[in-house]
């Protein structure tokens, strides 16, 4: 009952915050995009390698950039009010279709990478804390430091060289074997094989962050009075570590993980380009380079939704982990 009330309160607070946040994001993004030199018609005409005055004028008209900026913004907001993200002349298709085709791929990559980072990070952190100062801690510290200091794309590249070029175990590109028309288990294992390297590249940095956070938080908890009480009660050491130490240590880790979702979306641009992953990150990059504001605003809008939803989930998770949080 109390849980239900708290969920309702969290959702209400989020809804109140989200509306203005999203509107602010749209308007600010739109205005910032206006500051970028060059427009969609310039890009299309330049890519074509040839142009005449008439074809450039036709392009400008098609993109609606022959209209005043305010009209363009109002048009966009008007469409949005009807839940219409608009049409991209560059891709000759509706923005919603473009994004919905990519969103599942990016979410799959993000969730896998985040889950991988959390699981590996927490395991590493817990092991490091349990053997603090002894050799498992030392060895893992070095590994974690390496992950922390190497850029994800470089880790990815090296993994490609090893697993894809030298050993030939894993594919280096795309999210499925194109045209293989696989079904059932074969399809799932094909998808998984394609997922491993990009998820690893995206997760490597975050593994390091969560490992260090978990280690520090657990060591902090070890010194608390309730830990001594638990030990005095004669609880099994493993149970003490998992139920009392780790659960408390998870609060800072999940807080940071929630904030990292936005970073993951950003990191996806690089990793998706590197691995030819057909996700939103690449779409974002293409939209920026193509100055396709309709698509870019759609992506930003949806990304902000993803981040907001993720934060709600993290809030709820906190409420479960530590009932004292969020009662204010």
């Amino acid at each position: 009952m109390r849980m239900g009330r708290r969920i309702a309160a969290t959702l209400k607070r989020t809804a109140v915050h989200a509306g203005p946040t999203v509107l602010g994001i749209i308007v600010l993004d739109f205005l910032f995009l206006q500051l970028m030199p060059g427009n969609a018609a310039d890009v299309m005409a330049t890519e074509a390698g040839s142009a005449t005055e008439e074809t450039v004028a036709a392009l400008r008209h098609q993109f609606g950039i022959d209209q005043p900026v305010l009209t363009q913004l109002l048009n966009f907001l008007g469409h949005l009010a009807h839940l219409d993200l608009g049409f991209s002349p560059r891709f000759n298709t509706s923005v919603a279709d473009l994004i919905m085709a990519r969103l599942p791929n990016t979410l799959l990559l993000m969730v896998t990478a985040l889950a991988l980072a959390l699981v590996l990070g927490i395991v590493f952190g817990a092991v490091m804390a349990a053997w603090a100062g002894r050799w498992p801690d030392r060895v893992l510290s070095v590994i974690v430091l390496l992950f922390y200091s190497m850029p994800g794309f470089w880790v990815g590249l090296m993994a490609v060289v090893l697993f894809s070029v030298k050993l030939g175990w894993l594919p280096s590109d795309g999210n499925e074997t194109i045209g293989a028309d696989l079904t059932g288990f074969a399809m799932v294992s094909d998808r998984l094989a394609h997922l491993v390297l990009p998820a690893l590249a995206l997760a490597s940095f975050f593994v390091a962050v969560y490992a260090r956070l978990t280690r520090a938080a657990m060591l902090e908890v070890q010194r608390q009075d309730f830990m001594r009480t638990a030990k005095a009660k004669g609880l099994h050491p493993l149970l003490i570590q998992l139920r009392h130490a780790l659960r408390n240590a998870l609060v800072p880790v999940t807080t940071v993980a929630g904030m990292h979702l936005g970073n993951l979306l950003g990191g996806a641009v690089v990793v998706e380009t590197l691995f030819g992953w057909p996700g939103m990150g690449r779409l974002t990059l293409e939209a920026v380079l193509g100055r396709d504001y309709a698509v870019l605003l759609g992506v930003l809008l949806l990304s902000s939704f993803v981040v907001i939803v993720a934060n709600v989930l993290i809030d709820l998770l906190h409420a479960w982990l530590d009932p004292r949080i969020g009662s204010a």
């Binding site: 310039d42 040839s50 002349p89 057909p278 690449r282 380079l289």
Partner: protein
């Protein structure tokens, strides 16, 4: 006299032997052509449309011809060969082009391909195609006396027109699908229907396009492969890896970083093809803004020209993959290219002397002036070219500040804001100087906001007259003389400094055969391509 072409037995035999020659190596390795298999075609960027009707972006040209064919195709020297047209003739005054169309050709939806489609396509090209507006500008009307004859009537001769009819450059689209619609948003661009050897199957945005063998193709022996998968791989490193591990079969226009080629050449499974690139040569150049306070002086431009060693630059910047050119008309366009070296030889002393004469003496810090330099970001050699130019100009007392920017920013700076002094740029010559070169030097094409127009703001009435004359001159000798004179003037006045013509490599797995048989190589329909099992 009528300039015509009829497929006589001798011509057919010659064509066959040319084919055999083109594939000598293939025949030596495997005596018989094999059928079936999937070709994995690596592409650097995703197209906006699969029909190159409203855009000529390379990514669209790459894919278009697989489904949508043209009237003609061309051998390596850009001599026409039959495709959808089987015979053609040009009237002596150069104003009437008559095409006999291939009978019994059907679009993928079963509708017949007729002269009405040709007439409609040419009208569309004339209005919506970025180059068609110029290429077909002189077209008065396209007559269709019968379903298999199309007659193009011109107001003025257009000697380049007969070279402009490849599938990718001038696609023949189905009239029944385009009529009454906006060609820019027509869904045929997303899921094309044409007469070509491959049927469009699917386009997964951000990932790939799949084409399948057209079992009802007008040439019953073709195509040979079952399926073509066009993968969009945006990262050059990832493309190298795909060639290395065999997941990519073919890619063109040097699909990997130039620095990677040496390494890839050592791999036994790869072949580096240089044929099939003659339909569109580029010339890379240093382009001056003639409104710049420095480069409006001829002597300053001459000094820069004296300080550039093209051979060294080609080696440093393009790893030697190219041919130096003193002319804006590429060496590959043998018919028109003037190989005379620049009158301004590599000579730093002379360069310094010219700068002194122009009034730009070395200051107390030994520097004459500081000037920003921009570069076209398409391709990875732009930055290196700027580094080279910065190094050599430092020796004659000019400090160069290199500015980097993305493509839209570059286009806006050069062609709209004109906020530049000099830039590294590249121009495609295409198949004829009137189409590819005139636009850069013709004073009437100084148009703000139009990319790859007269970006130098070069104005010379003599040059204008030569270019306009060559555009309508039907006597090849006279036309060549005009272009040679044009090149002499440009070499003297240097509104830009032509540097080199890049050599574009097609990289392929050795299991791929018969891929680059025409002037436009893998940009053509690739109907003949076949794979070792």
């Amino acid at each position: 006299m009528t300039v015509g072409f009829r497929p006589t037995r001798r011509a057919t035999l010659a064509g066959l032997s040319a084919l055999a020659l083109g594939g000598t190596r293939s025949f030596a390795q495997a005596p018989a052509v094999k059928k079936g298999g999937t070709l994995n075609f690596l592409q650097t960027s995703e197209p906006n449309t699969l029909v190159s009707l409203t855009t000529t972006a390379t990514s669209a040209l790459t894919n278009s011809a697989k489904v949508t064919e043209g009237l003609l195709e061309y051998d390596y020297d850009i001599n026409p060969r039959p495709s959808l047209a089987t015979e053609w003739s040009i009237s002596p005054d150069g104003k009437t082009y008559t095409f006999k169309l291939r009978p019994n050709v059907k679009f993928h939806d079963g509708k017949p391909f007729t002269s009405a489609d040709v007439a409609y396509s040419i009208q569309l090209l004339k209005t919506v195609h970025p180059r068609g507006r110029n290429t077909f500008a002189n077209v008065a009307e396209v007559k269709t006396p019968d379903p298999l004859t199309a007659v193009i009537e011109l107001n003025k001769p257009a000697p380049y027109l007969i070279k402009a009819l490849t599938a990718a450059e001038s696609p023949m689209v189905p009239r029944h699908i385009y009529e009454g619609t906006d060609p820019r948003t027509n869904k045929n661009g997303n899921a094309p229907i044409g007469t070509g050897p491959y049927l469009f199957k699917e386009w997964v945005r951000g990932s790939h396009v799949i084409y399948e063998r057209n079992p009802n193709y007008w040439n019953p022996d073709l195509p040979r492969i079952d399926r073509m998968v066009c993968k969009f791989v945006p990262d050059p490193g990832a493309r190298s890896i795909a060639f290395e591990n065999g997941s990519g079969d073919i890619g063109y226009r040097t699909p990997v970083a130039l620095s990677d080629i040496e390494r890839l050449k050592k791999l036994p499974n790869l072949v580096f093809e240089t044929k099939g690139t003659s339909y569109s040569y580029n010339v890379q150049l240093l382009q001056f803004n003639l409104d710049s306070q420095y480069f409006k002086h001829l002597k300053v431009r001459q000094a820069i020209a004296h300080s550039i060693d093209r051979a060294a630059l080609l080696k440093v910047v393009a790893y030697g993959y190219g041919t130096i050119s003193y002319s804006p008309i590429a060496p590959g366009l043998k018919e028109f290219h003037d190989p005379t070296p620049s009158p301004y030889k590599y000579d730093l002393k002379k360069a310094e002397q010219l700068l002194d004469e122009a009034g730009f003496k070395r200051g107390p810090d030994k520097i004459r002036f500081k000037v920003p330099m921009d570069y076209n970001p398409i391709g990875d050699e732009g930055r290196r070219t700027c580094e080279y130019v910065r190094a050599v100009l430092a020796r004659i007392g000019i400090t160069v500040e290199v500015r980097s920017q993305d493509l839209p920013t570059f286009a806006r700076r050069i062609y709209t804001d004109r906020d530049f002094d000099f830039t590294y740029n590249g121009h495609s010559n295409l198949f004829d100087p009137t189409v590819g070169v005139q636009r850069i030097y013709w004073s009437k094409n100084f148009k703000k906001g139009v990319p790859f127009s007269n970006g130098s703001h070069y104005v010379n009435p003599k040059v204008d007259a030569l270019l306009e004359g060559a555009a309508v001159e039907i006597d090849p000798a006279k036309r060549k003389a005009m272009f040679v004179e044009f090149q002499k003037i440009i070499a003297e006045e240097i509104p830009d400094i032509s540097l080199y013509q890049p050599l574009y490599l097609t990289i392929k797995n050795k299991r791929v055969h018969a891929d680059s048989l025409t002037a436009d190589g893998v940009e053509a329909n690739m109907a003949q391509v076949w794979l070792d099992a």
